[in-house]
Amino acid sequence: MDSNTANTIGLLRSIIAEAYAESPHLLHVLYALQRQFLHISDEAVREVAAHLDLPLSQVDAVVEFYSFFHKIPRGRYDILFSNCTSCGYMAGGVDLMAMLGRRLDIVAGNTRGDGLVSMDQTSCIGMCDHGAALLVNGMPIVSLDAAMIDRIAALVEAETPLEDWPAEWFQVDDNIRVSGMLLKDDLSTGIGLSTMLALDAAGTLSEIIQSGLRGRGGAGFSTGMKWQFCREAQGAARYVVCNADEGEPGTFKDRVLLHSHADSLFEGMAVCAFAVGAKQGYLYLRGEYRYLLPHLQSVLARRRGLGLLGVDILDQPGFNFDIDIVVGAGAYICGEESALIESLEGKRGIPRTRPPFPVTHGYLGQPTVVNNVETFIAATHIVLRGSAWFRAVGTEKSAGSKILSISGDCAAPGIYEYPFGVTIRQVLDDCGAKDAQAVQIGGPSGTLIGSAEFDRRLGFDDLSTGGSLMVFSQARDMLAVIVNFAHFFAHESCGFCTPCRVGTVLLKNGLDKIAGGHGTRYDLDEMQRLATLVKSRSHCGLGQTAANPILDGLQRFPQAFEQRLVHRDFEPHFDLDAALEEARQISHRDDAAAHIE
C-alpha cells in the first residue's frame, strides 16, 4: 500500500467513525462521505461495510438506490434543478437549466471536467409556491429567473462560498394564505402533553378514535384504530415514526409545518408514544428538506431541556420517549410507509409485502405506527380540545380540516387550510385561479379533473388528497403535464415488481412518442391497455397510482392526445432523427443538415 492510498483510507475511516458516532444510520454515514468526497468510492463502500458490519452488497445497493448518492464525483457546486411542473426549471416558461448549462458549459447529468460544478435535474423539491427552484449543495434557492441564473453562473465560476451568495435567495417563506383549525393557533409548548396525562393512555386513544381523525397522507386509515392495533400487537418494543418524506410533486405543506409547527408535531408523536407504549420515535425527513435539520434538532433539544422528551416526561414516572431524525437521500418511494421503514433500517426503499402491516411488523419487525406530519399535529390539537371540537368541522366521513399546498397557475400559491367538504371551485376562487382548465388533486398519483368537475368536494369519499393541488390554466399543454408525470414515475419506480419497473418506462416512452408527433390511434390504445395493467397489477401504491394521470388524461382531456396523432394506422417507435442525437452531441452540430425530418 503506498502512502497516498494509506492516507485516503485513513481519512475515509476517520470520516466514517465520526459520522457513525454522531448517528449510526447508514444513510447518515453515506451522506457524510458524499459531502466530503463528492462521491462514494468503492473503497468507501468497503470501509463502510466493515465499520458498520454490513454486507458489501447492501451498502453498494443503497448507494445506487438513492438519487443523492453518487459513485462518480459530483462538482464542488452540485446543482439540482427541480423538474416539477410547479417548481421545475421550466416553470417560468424558459428552460433555466439549459440556460445555466450554456453559461457554465455543462450538460445536465454531468460534472464539468475541472470538477468545479455538476448539474442535473431532480424530482420536485417542495418549493412549488416559490416558482422555479434548485438545490445547490443541498440548499434550496427559490424564485429563480434568468437574471439569477447569470449571477449563479458568475458566483460558481468565481468559486464564491455559498455563505456569501445573496441571503435572500435562500429565503423560503411559509406563504400561509388561509388558516383553519390547526394553523390558526400556535399551541403553547407542552400543553397537549399535560392534557393527555390527565386523560391517561386509554382516554387519549379513545379521544383520537372518536375524533374520526384519518391519515393525512391521503390513504385515510383511521388514526385511532392504527394506534390501537399497534398497542394491542405483540412485540418487544414499539415505535412511532413520522413520515416527513413528502415527495409528491406539488406538496410542500410538511415543509411549512416542520418549519413553523415542529413543537405540535413532536408533541403529537409523544402523545402517540404514550398511547401505544413506545419509547423511541423517528422523524424520517426527506433529503430535499435537509436544510430544515438544524432547526428541527434545536426544537428537539429545547424540548428535552423542558422535560418534554427523554426520561420521565413531565415527571410522569416511566413515560420515556425520545425522537431521532433520519434524513433520506432522494427517493419518492420512501414515502410509502413500508419502504420508509426499510430505509430506516439502512436498506433500499423497497415496499414490503403486506400483510403483515407495520402496526404489527414494522421497524425492526416490531409494532410501529407510521403517520403523516399533519396527522400528528391534528392529534395534538384533538387531545387538547377534544374529539367533539374536531368532529364539528368537516364532513361525516372526513372529520376536521385539510391543509393544502396549492401551486401552479394561480395568483397566490401557498398553504390553505379548509374544512373537509370544500369544493374545488371555492379553493380556486380563493387562490386566484381565474382560467383553470384542470386541477391535479393529490399530486400526480391523485386525480386529474377538468372544469366540469370543479363542484366536487375534498374528502375521503370524493376527492382524497395528501395535500397537493396543482392548477393548470387554459394556456397549459395538458399532454406536456402528463408527460412530465410519466417521467417522474419512471424515475421513481423502485424496480421491485415487473409491471411498475418495466411498465412505467413503457408508458413514458409511449407518451414521448405521442408528444413528439409520432403517435397513432394504436399508441393511444396501447397506453390505455398498459396503464390499466400497471395500475391493477403493481406491488405497491406507487405503481398502482403511476398511471392515474394517463388514464385521467385519456378520459378527460382526450383532445390533448388526439391533436398530436399522425393519421396513420401504425408508426414505428424507432425515430431516425432522435437516433442521430448522440452523433449531433459528439460533433457539436444542431444545424438543419444534422437533422432528418
Binding site: 468503492d42 454486507p55 452488497s57 423502485c494 418506462v505 391493477s536 424507432f574
Partner: protein, 253 residues
C-alpha cells in the same frame, strides 16, 4: 403434503379457485394451497421452500375483484379466486413480454434454451413476440469465476439466487442494487466479481436460476435440444421444479 391436508380433521378451511374448492392449512398462501391441491398458478420468482417474494407478478390472481399475488397472499377461508381466466392470462402474457424486452435474451443460442422457465412461460401463455420495443440495456457480464458465469443480460430480477444463497447455502453471495429500470444483480465481494465471492459450484445459488443468467461453465449442450425439460414437460406440471433442479445439478445422470 396434499395427504396431510386431506387427513387433517381440524382444517375445514377452504378457498375456491376458479370454482374448485381447495383446502388450506393455517399459514399457507394461496400459492401453497393451490400447488398442494395440484392447481397451477403461473409463477417465476416463487419456489416452494423459499421465502415468497412477490416481484415477478406472474401469479397475479383476482380475489373477488381485487388483484393479489398468490405467492404472498395468505389463504383466508372463503376467498373466491379467479386464476385461469383469459383476462389474467393476457395480463401475465404482457408481464412476460415486459421481462423479455427489458433484458437481452438470445433464446436460440442460449444454453438454457428448452430448460428456461421464462421461455416455457412464454409458450404456456401463447406469447408469439416481445410486442414492445426492446430496451437494449447495457448489462455487465461476469465471467471471472472459474466454474460459474453470470450474464446479467438474461437476468429477470427474480432474486431466486439471492434467496437460495441466504436461505439454503447459508451465504450471501447475491443482492439487487440500483433503482427502477436500473435495478441489477450485484455480487457481494470486494471487487463485485464472482471470483472474489464465496460461491461454489455445489451451491444451490449456482443452479437455481430459472433463466440463463447464472450458468455452470464447461457444461454446454450436454442434453440435446428436443430432450430438454420443456421439450418433455409442460411448465404447468406441478412439482416440476424439483425435476429441473435435479437435472441441472447432475447433468450426467
Amino acid at each position: 403434503m396434499s395427504a396431510d391436508i386431506k387427513q387433517s380433521p381440524i382444517t375445514k378451511n377452504t378457498i375456491t379457485i376458479d370454482g374448485q374448492e381447495i383446502p388450506f392449512l393455517a399459514g399457507q398462501t394461496i400459492m401453497d394451497a393451490a400447488l398442494a391441491a395440484g392447481v397451477y398458478i403461473p409463477h417465476l420468482c416463487h419456489r416452494q421452500g423459499f421465502t415468497p417474494h412477490g416481484s415477478c407478478k406472474l401469479c397475479v390472481v383476482d380475489i373477488a375483484s381485487r388483484s393479489a399475488s398468490a405467492c404472498t397472499m395468505p389463504a383466508v377461508a372463503g376467498q373466491q379466486i379467479s386464476n385461469n381466466t383469459p383476462a389474467l392470462n393476457e395480463a401475465r402474457k404482457t408481464i412476460t413480454q415486459m421481462l423479455f424486452i427489458e433484458g437481452n435474451h438470445i433464446c436460440p443460442s442460449c444454453e438454457k434454451c428448452g430448460d428456461c422457465t421464462l421461455q416455457a412461460m412464454a409458450y404456456h401463455l401463447g406469447m408469439l413476440d416481445g410486442h414492445f420495443p426492446q430496451f437494449f440495456q447495457r448489462r455487465e457480464v461476469d465471467a471471472s469465476h472459474p466454474t460459474v458465469m453470470l450474464d446479467r443480460d438474461r437476468c429477470i430480477l427474480c432474486e431466486l439466487c439471492v434467496r437460495a444463497s441466504r436461505e439454503v447455502d447459508g451465504k450471501n453471495v447475491f443482492a439487487i442494487a440500483g433503482r427502477g429500470i436500473n435495478a441489477h444483480l450485484v455480487v457481494n465481494s470486494a471487487s463485485g466479481k464472482l471470483v472474489d465471492s464465496d460461491l461454489e459450484t455445489s451451491d444451490m445459488a449456482a443452479h437455481i436460476c430459472p433463466v440463463g443468467a447464472i450458468l455452470i461453465k464447461e457444461h454446454g449442450y450436454e442434453v440435446p435440444i428436443g430432450q430438454r425439460t420443456f421439450d418433455l414437460h409442460q411448465v404447468s406440471e406441478i412439482g416440476l421444479e424439483k425435476t429441473i433442479l435435479t437435472k441441472v445439478r447432475q447433468p450426467d445422470e
